[in-house]
């Protein structure tokens, strides 16, 4: 049994089938990169994993526990969906920080709301939990190198810094698996480095991660496993060496050649 098991994920919008049977597994602490041309379904896959989109078919389990079973997804209560979502984290291409909160409040908003909701806590326990969250937020902010920006608002910091805040914010909920959807695509080239460095550090911290990216060098360096998607299926899957150095399918060869030409 693997830590993450994704089985037979299908998804269509109307009569366009975007995902046509996605299967893969991932061990704890491993990093998976997903590459593929535009429209191949990478974002849709991440959205299904994070329950932002309902899969038509398939199951996703973490640590042997079924998190998503597409057949039952309609019967999940709001509360169940929220708890399932918390097993996964998602960092968006556009960061999506909350503009009206400063950096530290962006980190603590959701966890504090969870404490507030938990009616069984005594007043002291509640206070202690809030303190723990504040402390954790400070530590996470330090780990992405932004301690001095705690009181800044998102509009006052650079895109690279915003994305690092977004990563810290996702980590506050302690997801089992952290997903990234093209975390550097909205950034100026000179700002991608700082974000990729943070992600790399997370890897050494033993985080299980799925990263959709167009940064081939980065994917090669950081990944334990690489998936190449094309037209809603996994066209090729393997270690970075297998995928990048010995591509087998014609589609992958063509894709790699094209992305080489860009540089």
């Amino acid at each position: 049994m693997e830590f993450l098991e994704v089985q037979g994920i299908y998804k269509s919008f109307g009569n366009v089938s975007v995902l046509r049977g996605i299967d893969f597994t991932l061990s704890k602490g491993e990093v998976l990169s997903i590459i593929g041309s535009s429209g191949s379904g990478k974002t849709t896959l991440l959205r299904c994993i994070n329950l932002l989109e309902k899969a038509d078919n398939g199951t996703i389990s973490v640590n042997g526990e079924v998190i998503i079973d597409a057949k039952e997804e309609d019967s999940y209560t709001d509360k169940q969906i929220r708890n399932k979502r918390l097993r996964m984290g998602l960092v968006f291409q556009q960061f999506n920080l909350f503009p009206q909160y400063n950096v530290i409040d962006n980190l603590t908003l959701a966890p504090k709301l969870r404490i507030k909701e938990n009616k069984s806590l005594t007043k002291e326990a509640r206070l202690e939990a809030v303190n723990a969250i504040n402390k954790e937020a400070e530590e996470l902010l330090a780990s992405v190198g932004l301690s001095d920006k705690a009181k800044s608002y998102p509009c006052e910091i650079s895109g690279g810094q915003q994305q690092r805040v977004a990563i810290a914010r996702a980590l506050m909920l302690k997801p089992d698996i952290l997903c990234f959807d093209e975390p550097t695509s909205a950034l100026d080239p000179e700002l991608t480095g700082e974000v990729l460095r943070v992600i790399k550090e997370l890897k050494s911290g033993d985080r299980t991660m799925i990263i959709v990216t167009h940064e081939m060098e980065f994917a090669r360096n950081v990944s334990d496993k690489v998936i190449f998607m094309a037209d809603g299926v996994i066209e090729e899957m393997g270690t970075p060496e297998e995928v990048f150095d010995n591509p087998k399918s014609e589609k992958l060869k063509a894709f790699l050649q094209k992305s080489d030409e860009k540089f």
Binding site: L90, Q94, Q100, P154, A170, L173
Partner: protein, 214 residues
């Protein structure tokens, strides 16, 4: 003479202010509810709400005032009701419909990503609305709201058509009595001061909200 007129106007200005204040108190929440209706995924509700907004925005406010004031007595042969209450009802419904469109535009302008960010962080729909979208909506709607609210100040003058003793009503009465027109023009000073204060207030609010960008 001038001071007597001024005193009378201050009295009328009180009525103007209460029409203004009561309309805001009722129209703001009602407008929010109507905006939820016009954005509803439930098609029949959406259609009904959109029709109501179309009618209310399409018929002159003065006419609506008459309908609310005289309508019940004409239809059901009951005595004519209180004119102040009729004014507040007509104004509240009318302004709620205008406000609802401002709310709708403000809510629909919130990027989908903001809501999804809340969702992946495990927030409830209610939490996302109150903690994430609401403040962003507020910031977006302050300028158009300011506009609409300033229009309301001047629309209160319509209440004189059903003999609510607001400032224009007093001005007309005095003008008729002394056979001079200046009292009517003099009312402009009161409106200008009122609108001036509101303009400062909205400017301050915009500035207060300028620490973040949406």
């Amino acid at each position: 003479m001038f001071w007597q007129v001024t005193l009378k106007f201050l009295e009328g200005f009180g009525a103007t202010c209460s029409v203004f204040a009561f309309t805001l108190i009722f129209a703001l929440p009602l407008g929010l509810i109507i905006s939820f209706g016009t954005m509803s995924g439930f098609k029949p509700l959406k259609a009904v709400m959109k029709t109501i907004v179309w009618i209310v925005r399409g018929v002159p406010l003065m006419l609506q005032l008459f309908i609310v004031y005289y309508g019940p007595s004409l239809l059901f042969k009951i005595p004519i009701g209180d004119k102040f209450v009729a004014t507040i009802i007509a104004f509240s419904i009318n302004y709620a419909c205008y406000f609802s469109e401002i709310f709708r535009a403000g809510i629909e302008a919130i990027p989908r990503g903001q809501i999804e960010a809340g969702q992946v962080l495990g927030m409830t729909r209610f939490q996302i609305f109150t903690r994430v979208t609401l403040m962003q909506v507020v910031k977006r709607i302050v300028p158009p709201m300011g506009n609409e609210i300033i229009t309301l100040v001047k629309d209160t003058a319509l209440a004189n058509t059903i003999v609510v003793a607001e400032i224009i009503y007093h001005a007309k009465t005095i003008s008729n009595t002394i056979a001079e027109i200046w009292p009517l023009f003099y009312t402009a000073v009161f409106y200008l001061i009122f609108v001036g204060v509101l303009t400062l207030l909205f400017g301050w609010l915009e500035k207060k909200l300028s620490y973040y960008k949406v």
